[in-house]
Symmetry: C2
Subunit: 371 residues, 2 copies
């Protein structure tokens, strides 16, 4: 079967990153039932670990049974009702996706745009928030399409001052740089298992504040999605009685539990530092090859580096060079998205891959292809 | 960590069933990217395998990146728009869930009810369909909450004669008894990975007819769910260009691919026969112990047997007996849901577990607990 001929890959795109053996071994374990007391104990421990990563005490912190995009949709469709005003910061694909998801929930969306590769302007966000008085303010902490790290606190505090709830996309930031939901005053955040957590894709760690859960309880209309309804999910994930809602993805949760354990064993600060160091080694090496960082140093993500391409790459064709990295060296790097397609590469050093020897393997391969 | 102390379980509830080593080993394989040509080839092969299981040539046949309930929601929210009339057959939890999901999509829902444990009355469905002229008729093939197998053809043909699209829940039936979407004229169907496919929970095989995809294209309003929008999903799963939508759950798809390969190696007819034989052995053994099948023989599912409890079980307390089976014998059986909670057990012999030695292990444990 095709499975047996799958090649070995070093995954340096925007995710998935490579999963360590501990995570893969965990997914190999035999199944138990989703209502088995042993499984529920594992789930409780995982939830506690996720709270530590998110910097929160939110009771409603759980591994949602689908990818980060479903986590985004869960946060938005629970907090918004038809006609609600919402302000969304858009400086890349994922801010744009938030706006689209909110529109499909019937919200009245006002976007605040910034150039792709630049952070949102906090004072511009503040102005619009003061004017619109939205129910929800949503933006992206680590924009995976551009590699921009967004300062959170000023926007979040303006939003709360205006009485809005704040939704933050932490898909690429969680476990790779500090996330402090409680200190920042975030009401709902979501991430993905396949980025700095170095687990397989398919789960979205989600955390929602008590205040936001209160708002969900007071909705005038049911949440449009049954599958993502936080009130129903709470029955299984947070209730004393553990009521069946859907069948939790057992093996994926085993993997995530092993991955979160590994993060906590390493410690968050050492892990963040490892990401910072790998990133600066990468940028230095890429600049020597003629690549130019898209994002200015102050707003650059450590786990995802976006670079404009040198002439040598453009002459060969950027897709051709990526294809040679993949086929000849087993290394995957990410293409640009949207207006940056063909213009940039996105190179991830996420979780397990944020290591100097990984950086060097990529740089050597690039030298071999380009020299 | 807790993972290492998870007990060994024989999973004879309503799902998950036990996954064979081939499936577990597949999930242990290192990750490749979701846009890697090797992964896309694996996905193509898996889609072809799912078509065989569903009895269809539908191009849009794919492993949706979430559980069966999300598959249900995907089928309904894509085919329905606000105000659309829909007829839903309800004779258990999952028919009720279909009605609820359709309501949350803004549809005008007419339910046709039957007692839990009885099939829907086809002529009653036909009458309501003729009267309501719905856009969609939805019902459950194998009702997991009761163990009833619903005859499909008469209702499906009445629906099509009335110009309606037909949505069929095949969560528990797929790969355990015949499913023939094309012969039956079904427009959208969904299943789950953790039942007769004996894979880990977390994926929902979904198949949608070309005719239904045409209806989705002609919608007046966007699909309310971005994550489940079949038009967007087609870009990744069926497009020539394989456009990124969300990150596919790599390891879960490895597992499902191995599981589907295994089903096809065994052959569908021998697999169905194995389910029938295991089921009749089980019913015989349970009747000898004083359990009574809830469902009359003609409408009984082979992979899920629901039984009323003998006095001995009620005297001990049904939850106590299930607890002893779990703790002393490592065997999970399922409780009743809704109005049947406390009244019945649901015993699954799904996929790998549909074997005489599994039946005997359960019967011996029951003798030990009850004698």
């Amino acid at each position: 079967m095709i499975l047996e001929t799958l090649p070995s890959r070093l995954l340096l795109g925007p995710g998935p990153s490579n999963a360590p053996d501990a995570v893969l071994e965990a997914m190999r374990r035999p199944l138990v039932g989703h209502l088995d007391p042993h499984f529920l104990a594992l789930l409780d421990r995982l939830k506690e670990g996720l709270r530590t990563l998110f910097g929160t005490t939110n009771a409603m912190t759980l591994p949602l049974s689908a990818t980060g995009s479903a986590g985004m949709e869960a946060c938005l469709v629970n907090l918004l009702e038809a006609g609600d005003p919402v302000v969304v910061g858009v400086n890349g694909v994922f801010g744009g996706r938030m706006a689209e998801v909110a529109r499909r929930a019937g919200a009245r969306v006002t976007t605040v745009e910034a150039d792709w590769g630049r952070p949102l302007d906090a004072s511009q966000m503040d102005d619009v928030i003061s004017r619109v008085r939205p129910r929800v303010v949503a933006f992206v902490h680590a924009e995976t399409s551009t590699g921009v790290c967004q300062p959170v606190e000023e926007i979040a505090s303006a939003a709360r001052a205006a009485g809005a709830m704040v939704v933050l996309d932490c898909v690429t930031s969680l476990a790779g740089r500090p996330v402090e939901l409680d200190a920042w005053g975030i009401d709902a955040a979501y991430s993905g298992s396949q980025k700095c957590l170095s687990c397989s894709p398919g789960l979205s760690p989600v955390s929602v504040s008590d205040r936001a859960i209160e708002h969900v309880r007071e909705r005038r209309t049911p949440v449009q999605s049954w599958f993502l309804d936080l009130g129903l999910l709470a029955g299984y994930y947070a209730g004393a009685q553990r009521v069946y809602h859907h069948t939790a993805p057992i093996s994926a949760i085993y993997g995530l539990a092993a991955g979160v354990d590994r993060v906590l064993e390493e410690g968050l600060e050492p892990r963040f530092e490892r990401h910072r160091q790998a990133s600066s080694r990468l940028v230095q090496g890429l600049e020597a090859l003629g690549f130019e960082p898209l994002v200015e140093a102050a707003h650059r993500l450590p786990m995802l580096t976006s670079v404009r391409l040198p002439e040598r790459v453009e002459r060969l064709g950027e897709a051709v060079v990526r294809g040679r990295l993949l086929e000849d060296f087993g290394i995957e790097v990410g293409a640009g998205l949207g207006p940056l397609a063909g213009e940039i590469w996105r190179i991830g050093l996420m979780g397990e891959n944020a290591r100097p020897e990984v950086v060097d393997r990529l740089l050597e391969a690039l030298h071999a292809v380009l020299d």
